[in-house]
Symmetry: C2
Subunit: 136 residues, 2 copies
DNA sequence: CTAGTTGCAAAGAGTTTGCATGGCG
DNA sequence: CGCCATGCAAACTCTTTGCAACTAG
């Protein structure tokens, strides 16, 4: 079970080519259509689901009401990172930081919880938006 | 702007009465209906939106595809906490822990990011599910 | 009286599913 | 050839919106 199809390959290619970004299902559809090789929405979702299950890509939702985002994980460990989403300007900061290890250790030692480092999204205010808010 | 209505009061009461849980909009509808004082879905959503904007309740989404949850914040600072959601059994662990301060400091000092402590949801595996996975 | 609020039903976004057709192995 | 994948459209879930009736102040 698991045939190799043109559509499936093209979807994965697109994710790999954009591994520094996070794409929504619809963005993937649009990209594929622009390349002249449109793939049905349902097919995109079904392939994404498989890739997530395999562990090839990660999936997370950046905010309420927004659509889910997908990102190629790659083989390295360098892709474990925080996402910091600013509630002011909406910017998403990708952050690769060793502090993750500390957080991980703390949760493990004190709360017996094994953190999944691929899905972390924290909310707050970035520097600029924080300043604006303080001033007003 | 801002009348006091029976419906609005009842919605807030329900949230306060369940401040240790997180309720979805639909659960609130059902609870109100069971009390014999049904409130329209749209009204529930509109009131929740206001309460979130006021900062009276918090709102977060525990997982993809699931509906948003709402919880009364109260007046104390003791309600700032992590949510740890186990990807194995689905259990949500509410955790009040001083470590939050450290995380906060780190993000502020090293990344100029001011954390919103009301919206934190981390994913991973709880102790039991971790053990199961290691064994298999 | 007048502006904010309600409730219904319809619209909307994002995602999933049923089913006939098509393609991989 | 058999099974899996595709694509379309319809279904579905959660949430928002339009609008007329209602109600708090």
């Amino acid at each position: 079970m698991g045939y190799k199809t043109k559509q499936g390959e093209r979807i994965l290619e697109t994710l790999i080519r954009n591994e520094d970004r996070h794409l929504t299902a619809e963005e993937i559809c649009v990209l594929l259509k622009e390349e002249g090789a449109a793939v049905g929405t349902a097919t995109v979702y079904r392939n994404l689901e498989k890739l997530v299950a395999e562990g090839t890509i990660r999936r997370y939702r950046l905010d309420e009401g927004e659509s889910a985002c997908y990102q190629y994980i790659g083989d390295g460990s360098c892709h474990e990172h925080f996402h910091l989403k600013c509630l002011g300007c909406g910017e998403v900061i990708h952050l690769e930081c060793d502090y993750l290890d500390e957080l991980n250790s703390h949760l493990l030692e004190h709360h017996s919880f094994h953190l999944d480092r691929t899905k972390i999204v924290l909310y707050g205010l970035c520097c600029e938006c924080r300043n604006k808010e303080v001033q007003s």
